[in-house]
Symmetry: C2
Subunit: 376 residues, 2 copies
């Protein structure tokens, strides 16, 4: 399902092609986050206009609201939300451990209360696979336990072992459920490597999962509060255990500069709510760093967010107008800045792929980070 | 600037054409409300897609935020908000009396504190005309005092007299400011008839204003809490004092059934925040009455809001999905329902004009109200 098409000749950056049930996508790619079966503030048309190729949704979130039965009746998540392109569903492990009122974790699974209505649920790793089968997402994730930074060694060890155990069970459940699935409809199942900031745990986790031969590998537990350099160090160490011919996914990473750094290490897939969350706060990414539109210096600035951007917001609206909308808490402001930011991320990924293709990713990275740094 | 093109042969409904600095519009028309220089949740592209022809903005609101200087620097309200079609600006009288912390009303003008930052301001009727000149809106309104329902006779009398006095001063100020304005750039100045629910006050107000020969007449003080029948009675009484060759505007009216009833009486122009306000509450208008999408009966309803509607929301999303978005307080839900409602209003006005053109407005009204009534 995955093929590396080109490797940059100076770094580990690479271009690949990932085949999913809803179409082929070139890597490295960015997935816009649509937790509640919607990328916040954006319609499907907005996403298509922003050239979004794949989105991430969340098993836990859509399970507690609107509920699995409704999405099944709609014919799956794509049909429910009218999105024609690929969807990756996160298992929701992270959300169960951070958002739900967690009642009990056992080797068997997790018992929790929904953050929406307080109803009690129990999820096994097998349940999470079975739910995602019903959601009909293109890429699915096993239940995992993601720890925060810093995490004590003994707890990280328990959580990593449990994750590996759960991921193995997930693979077994997946194989049973998919015995009769046609190859073209097959969901891709990824393994999730945990291990916090402990290299030996990362190594064991990676090796055990690689043995099981997943469709791709996600490096979890990054972007959970650790310093940037540590993120890169753990990534650099862990990624070497993943076979070259498998897609690599750093879950929840990251800001534009983090993405550029991770691509250099050979990461193929990214997701983060940063563009839409920052957008709703009036912070916009530009080709020369980010700006906060509510800042007084934009009061009479009638230039676009980014003069190098050709998105709808930049072609039609000024910083002064967007600042006014954000100050007046007008929904249009939150939406236009979110839209611009998602467009910016998609453009960044296209630029990254072009740079890799022409073996000038090192220069691209240097230029990009210089611009971002100088604006800080 | 205004010409009646066709009169329905059974009712007072009529089709006209209104020429403004930003284009010609057929009457009867509906103006989407863009109080803060934005129609809530909708981009300019959304408004054009919904076939919106003219919007209303608000002098008081844009004066207190972002402030006149910024809009002037942008080149006027159209340029500030990137809206290419006509704009009517309300004087903001209603908002000053209802929203601002009102300090003092004298014959000279009103002293108030902004509801945004508490800053003190003093507006004379002349100021309001001069501000709107700088906003460069197409149709402008004089400062008025709009009373609520019910209003004691003595207070209504004072407010009506004051409004008439202010409107006269506005006309003088307008004439002075526009001595050198080219006809094609000329803003249209409307008179505002007040008088609460007292017919003699309505009569005096109307007669005194008609004498001054305004570009059009707004019947103010309707849709301020009075019963529907009383609205129609006061309108029916008042409209007869307005010359046939002038456009008539019921400010703040109304729901679809109120609009249909007012058109029958010969009203040409409407505005209300109903479509967007209802939209943000998850209430959608349909060809068979309104529905509240958060209602449990739509949980598994995969049909569109209105199967007779060809708007983007109806062509792409189900009631079940929109209900989910509204329940999850997702901005996309508020936007899609607002968009649908504005689209619905614009379609209603096109249908109304078609019915008048073919002299079947009575039948249209009967059918329309029957459908709406039966769904209540």
């Amino acid at each position: 399902m995955f093929k590396v098409l080109h490797k940059d000749n100076k770094t580990n950056a690479r271009i690949g092609r990932l085949q999913t049930a809803h179409g082929v996508i070139l890597t490295p790619f960015f997935m816009a986050v649509g937790t509640n079966a919607t990328v916040k503030t954006l319609s499907v048309q907005d996403l298509l206009d922003a050239k979004v190729e794949i989105i991430v949704s969340n098993t836990y979130h859509v399970f507690v609201r609107p509920g699995l039965e409704i999405i099944q009746k709609a014919g799956g998540l794509h049909k429910f939300m009218s999105w024609p392109r690929p969807i990756l569903t996160d298992s929701g492990g992270y959300q169960i451990f951070s958002l739900a009122m967690l009642r009990k974790v056992t080797e068997e699974g997790v018992k929790f209360q929904s953050h929406v209505d307080g109803n009690a649920h129990f999820f096994t790793p097998e349940d999470i696979i079975s739910i995602q089968k019903k959601l009909k997402s293109d890429i699915i994730m096993p239940l995992d336990e993601c720890v925060h930074y810093p995490c004590p060694r003994d707890y990280a060890e328990v959580a990593t072992k449990r994750t590996t155990h759960w991921v193995k069970r997930s693979k077994t459940a997946y194989n049973q459920l998919n015995r009769k699935t046609k190859p073209k409809d097959r969901q891709l199942l990824f393994g999730i490597i945990q291990g916090a900031t402990y290299k030996d745990l990362r190594k064991t986790s990676a090796e055990e999962l690689v043995e099981l031969d997943f469709d791709g590998y996600s490096i979890g537990g990054l972007s959970v509060g650790e310093p940037d350099d540590l993120l890169q160090e753990i990534l650099s160490y862990t990624i070497d255990f993943i076979p070259e011919n498998k897609p690599r996914y750093t879950m929840g990473v990251g800001t534009p500069d983090q993405i550029v750094r991770c691509v250099e290490q050979g990461v193929d897939m990214f997701d983060t709510c940063v563009p839409t969350r920052y957008g709703r706060n009036g912070t916009a990414f530009t080709s020369v760093g980010k700006i906060t539109l509510t800042n007084a210096r934009f009061t009479k600035d009638f230039s676009p967010i980014d003069k190098n951007c050709d998105c709808y917001a930049c072609k039609n609206y000024s910083r002064a107008y967007l600042r006014h909308l954000c100050n007046a808490k007008e929904i249009l402001g939150l939406k236009l800045v979110s839209y611009h930011n998602v467009y910016f991320y998609m453009k960044l990924m296209r630029d990254i792929r072009l740079a890799i293709k022409s073996n000038r990713f090192s220069e691209f990275k240097k230029d990009f980070l210089k611009k971002v740094e100088s604006s800080k």
